[in-house]
Symmetry: D3
Subunit: 318 residues, 6 copies
């Protein structure tokens, strides 16, 4: 099985790939002719592909987010490899392929990540805070197992949201040990909750966000999760204006730090300050790690990374 990341110019390949994007386009010929412009992916990366010989009737045989069997040739085009497809067909039951084998995913098993999050929630000492956090985890449902943390900004892959949460929990635990004045219950709950409404904000399958939901665009995941906390409190009988509810709402509402980054209030609790900087630290470092991981080992500079002041990152070597 040839991985995308190992393809070289003029290499012929036959194998299964995820059809991540599929558009029907038209050539500039007169009259124009339909062809497929695709993005094929596997766990090692992705590649642009063209299927010029699209036949009448073939147009409806394939959709995005399916696995397809592909025969083609890799070619350098404007300094980047792309795949010229010779034959392509959707994978069928007889092929015995698993969709999840072909998608980019967090490096830790999704179920394991969710189990760690649940265990952290259980470890919260204060019953009200624990129960509200647990209510929201249940409300997120099994989407927590597969959602990415963002459309493209960072952790944009299968289980990226859970992975981001778990890494932040690790940093959070370290800081609570280093600085005992921090309230661990609040910080753990804040980390678990901070991005938990992303599944209500966007629609995703297989770790790939297709679009933001109407409700997501109109309210945003900060105010959404703040509403979940209100709902949890009402359902659990915790007074909706009690200090604990206020603290949890403050943590999630302020975690983007500044108004221009979407927070209607700025961090005003030690734990809110910690939450914001833990979130930044984990997200930025993951952007760097993923950007370096997605360029060949011998290249020194990544592409520009929007979340890092739109700068490229250089590979330290010594």
């Amino acid at each position: 099985m040839t991985l995308i990341s190992t393809l070289t110019d003029k290499q012929e390949v036959t194998g299964f790939f995820l059809v991540k994007e599929l558009d029907v386009k038209q050539t500039n010929a007169t009259p124009p002719k339909d062809y497929w412009d695709l993005v094929l992916a596997d766990s090692s990366g992705q590649i642009t592909a063209k299927y010029w010989d699209l036949k009448p009737g073939e147009k409806e045989t394939l959709q995005s987010l399916q696995v397809a069997k592909v025969h083609g040739v890799a070619q350098l085009y404007r300094e980047r490899l792309q795949l010229k497809i010779i034959r392509i067909r959707p994978a069928g039951p007889e092929d015995g392929v698993q969709l999840t084998d072909y998608i980019r995913a967090a490096p830790v098993e999704a179920k394991e990540l969710v189990a760690q999050i649940r265990a952290k929630v259980d470890s919260i000492g204060d019953p009200d805070i624990r129960n509200i956090a647990a209510y929201c985890v249940v409300k997120a449902g099994d989407r927590l197992e597969h959602y990415p943390a963002a459309k493209s900004h960072h952790h944009a892959y299968y289980a990226g949201l859970a992975y981001h949460t778990v890494r932040m929990l690790e940093i959070g635990e370290f800081l609570c040990a280093q600085r005992p004045f921090l309230n661990r219950d609040a910080l753990i709950a804040g980390i678990v909750l901070h991005d938990l409404a992303k599944p209500e904000e966007m629609n995703a399958q297989l770790g790939i966000v297709s679009e933001y939901s109407d409700r997501g665009r109109l309210i945003g995941h900060l105010a959404l999760i703040s509403g979940w906390i209100v709902e949890a409190a009402l359902k659990l009988g915790v007074p909706a204006d009690s200090p604990k509810v206020t603290v949890l709402q403050h943590l999630v509402l302020s975690h983007h730090n500044l108004g221009e980054w979407g927070s209607p209030v700025q961090p005003q609790l030690a734990e809110a300050v910690a939450l914001h900087y833990i979130d930044s630290l984990d997200a930025k470092l993951q952007m760097v790690e993923d950007a370096l991981g997605s360029i060949p080992e011998q290249e020194a500079w990544t592409p520009l990374i929007r979340g890092l002041e739109n700068k490229a990152v250089y590979r330290t070597r010594f």
Copy 2:
């Protein structure tokens, strides 16, 4: 009864005034001596006052937000009038004075304003929107009758919140008539709700904000009223993620327009755009009207107004 706005230099006055602020300060003498630094107010305006001859035991006889009987002399000090107090005592039942006669208030009766707001809510056609708006008006309670719209920014007086709301409703009705594509139900509800959580955000008496509440500082009135809408939906059995609830949350969350002004999402509905600009128009014009009303008729320029790009306003005369 002499009004503060009519006092002139060296004029002696005896009358009742609201003690709006009262601080014990100390002179630079050695040893320092206690005196009272006060702000006295009536319906026509306010004046700084000093009570130099504070006697032992007298310090606890008076508090702010009481009416006091005052005998004193107006004096020019650094180009501004202040009152040198000769005698002062709290008003008692025997004086027969009404606190509310001495405070700055909206030019329309508070009960009348609230009645107009309630009538507008009743006129909303859609039952879910009407019920949610009505629920929130009930939740605001009788504070809607007396709260100001802000601590000092605009409409900072008794019933200022209700007055601001009613004037905006008038503009809203005009615009719905001028542009029938606007959804009147959404716009009317949005206007009623947009500042309705201010009583949860700040603590005020007699139209004077003493401080922001903890919950107000940590969450802000935009996310607070968004939470009220969630609560109303849950209590009324309207699905919390239905389009109507989404629209109402969007209206209140976006009404400050920009992230740096406190809105976590920007207006993305015709009615949200209308709401923001109606709010700005009414607030800014009221700032101007109040600033011009609080300087003597013969003066041309108001003090700097923070809400107007920190500019003074010039009195047009012709």
Copy 3:
């Protein structure tokens, strides 16, 4: 007569359309071949069109801003309809078509709008202000009847400038009634004058701006209209530094509110504050109304609107 807004995929159509834009382009063939890339328009909207079979000698037969008779087929190309032209020729006198029947225009008759503006000028009580406003309206000439209010930002169609002015005058009258402290003469004159130099700033035909004029780019319509007011005062014998002239200059110079939006001074009159917010309110709501009107009824989201913080607008439905 088939309207552009009703065309569907594969529909054949013969009819008259305005040639809004016309470019000669070349295919990627070797050797490249000329074709026409057009934008066709009627009162219902516009559509991209291609005329691949451009013949030698045909290139000079047609120009933009003419009506043409077109025979073609609508085709979906990259999810948008465009028209593949089979035959095209300019309309001649024998066709009996009116150019003005094929352009996008304000929903009210241009002459009616200008008559309303003139009537409002006549209603100004102060003779100096009335005469200066009238002088400037005369100077704008018949361009006031057909100019758009902007190149693309808002009211970008035939008589858009007059329509914008009339709607603002309606809001202005409402506010003067609601807030009697406003000086009606100043506000009415300010509204009439604020964008009146746009015809000196840009070159437009049929409501379509082809380009900004040199003088428009170098001075801008705010300083231009301020110069018109100076000229009017000199011609009418009103002292050029009198308070009335100052007020009118201030109103037009400050109506963009902030320096970064092009105003060299910020609003410092009640009427200047009102003018700016009335202008914003009308322009923004028209952007929303036009954006919603230009997408199919069944679509929920408009394209991004630059004048609304570059956000799309969602269609409220209930």
Copy 4:
């Protein structure tokens, strides 16, 4: 005659000084007592002074912007010298003092500066540009001889405006010689005109701005001088929309470079770019030169200078 800049602690002095500012203030004593808080100045600098023994009836004997004969003692107060006044009286005709001997002024004679400006105007080759520039110089009148260039920002002294203009003309001539593609007529006229409406924008005597005029606050000196150019063109019969008038208006309107610095249009002519940077260069260097000149030679750092990013300047020594 003792100069202010040479005073030392405990030195007794008798002499004539300009009363630059004079305020009646009151001590914190009970009852408070009136005293004078003054700023005295001569050509070498200025010093704060107190006259504690103000006698009844003496209050009306002196005004600001008069010369007074003063007897007093210099004293260190909070690390700065101030003058404790023992006796003070207005100078009379018998004293034979010249007001202008006691004010801060440009280092070149005012009449000489104005003569240089007039000569530069005469040297403009194009008659229309020359005549418009000359018309505006006449309109500025003899205020050009004594006005400062700003209230406090830079060149804030007698004839500062003319001095700033002359130094800029010197740099302008150098650049025209260095870069012949520059249009000398436009650049010379632009330099002469750029700040010429400052006398309409602010009220000043003896190089000291007391306040901005109403017209200055509402229109600003950029749009004011643009209006003067329109007036000059109309009076001189130059078409008001001709390229030459457009260029002159553009030069003055754009010379602050950015919208947030007050320019409604940005420089779009070579000469407008040159004008802006010559203006900055001369103004900033003068700020530095004046700031270094107003601190004792042995001090290394000036106070913070608002026009230089609010930084202090260090004295280079080697």
Copy 5:
């Protein structure tokens, strides 16, 4: 021994305190009379003090940054405690007091902190990086033992710089373990070096910065330490333009992240991104911890903290 943090109104106290600030001021009396305005400090906090009865000849007996023996009375003045001094004299050898017992200091022994830093430098694997870091630590000298990390922003106390460095090293080690792709040598060296030129940027004694040095104001600690690295490389024979030197210079130059925060380049290495966010996280959390620690336990809100978007911080309690 009474601690400042335990003083209450009207309490009389005799003890030793650090004279943190000492100014001679003058009363408003006529003639004015000298008194001392002081800030006294001990390890628990600080308090404003007045010594009204300053006697002739006494003025030169005391200086700031000495320990003094004080007898006085605590008094509430404008809602804050201050100390009215009855008697004060400098501590002498006979008093047997240690200056360092009276200053605010990091919670870990300075020598212990420096030893930890040196040990981390020794643990760097790459000899060039280790030697350059070691060279700079030697160059900082014993100032590393007592310098604060900033004048007032954060860690503004004895050994604050070393404490900040050690806490960051702890976080850095955690992250290197959590994310093995990080280059530990570079990150450890970056943390050690990032603020190491602060002793060249500012003058401090006892953890109290008196002022910035001329060289500090003109160059800043980022470019200063970059210069130290160049010097170290030259002295150690490491090529000054080698990748290792480049990486170290980049780490220190970019650690403020944005140009407006003083970094001439933005982070473009994984370790530079980590360094910036570790620095922010530690500095911000210390600000919060110190702010909460310096208000009484029963108070809920700290004063505004400039480094936290100028927000106050609320004490979480549950």
Copy 6:
């Protein structure tokens, strides 16, 4: 010899041109076919060119930055001329062409410019400053003879860096004569040094920057030249923290004026203020002069110029 700037539509041309850029691209044909997309240049300007008939084996015969002999036809494509190449081959020794005859260069001979810079360095009175400046000029080496001042921003051609430096030196001398308080040694040295590390920041040949160097991206030319000054001081035995070294470092570090433009410190010396504004003045005027020089004489407007607030410049004509 036909110059590029004189070519017209359909003109056939044979001659030598510099191959400034050369990319192999592919047509949209099926299968795609390789062609060359080139930019050809001579001293008069540049033109896009296509070589459609690229033959097998021909691909490796030519590289960018070579001179080629070309036979082709100019054709209008999308309103701009481009050259359709019929035959092309690299120039050989037998052609006797000089590469330097075909590149865009400063209008003054490079050696002459460098000689002027060296002479100015020699004229510096202070030996330490002179020696440090001279050391850095030597370190820049012969790259000073040919480097451009920037990749595209300004003076982007052969010897642009030296030309920019020389013109600035001329302005600097004029200002030192006009304002004797300026320290000529510091200003001359500052001008010579300010951009002198550009050859370490970017890689250029023939005045064309191909890319930024790794060290340039990670450190930037401001901190690089600051490091050169440290190195020079160490090598020359001038104390690295002496005032002269501090002043030189400050001059180069602050010359971009603001943090967001890359300066870690803001100008705090008279000479640093002068340096920044001389740099701006020369760079902006050169941008304008070059932009006007690169459009046909009959055109009024240049393209947008990024360094001039992204505005176009208008050609003054009278």
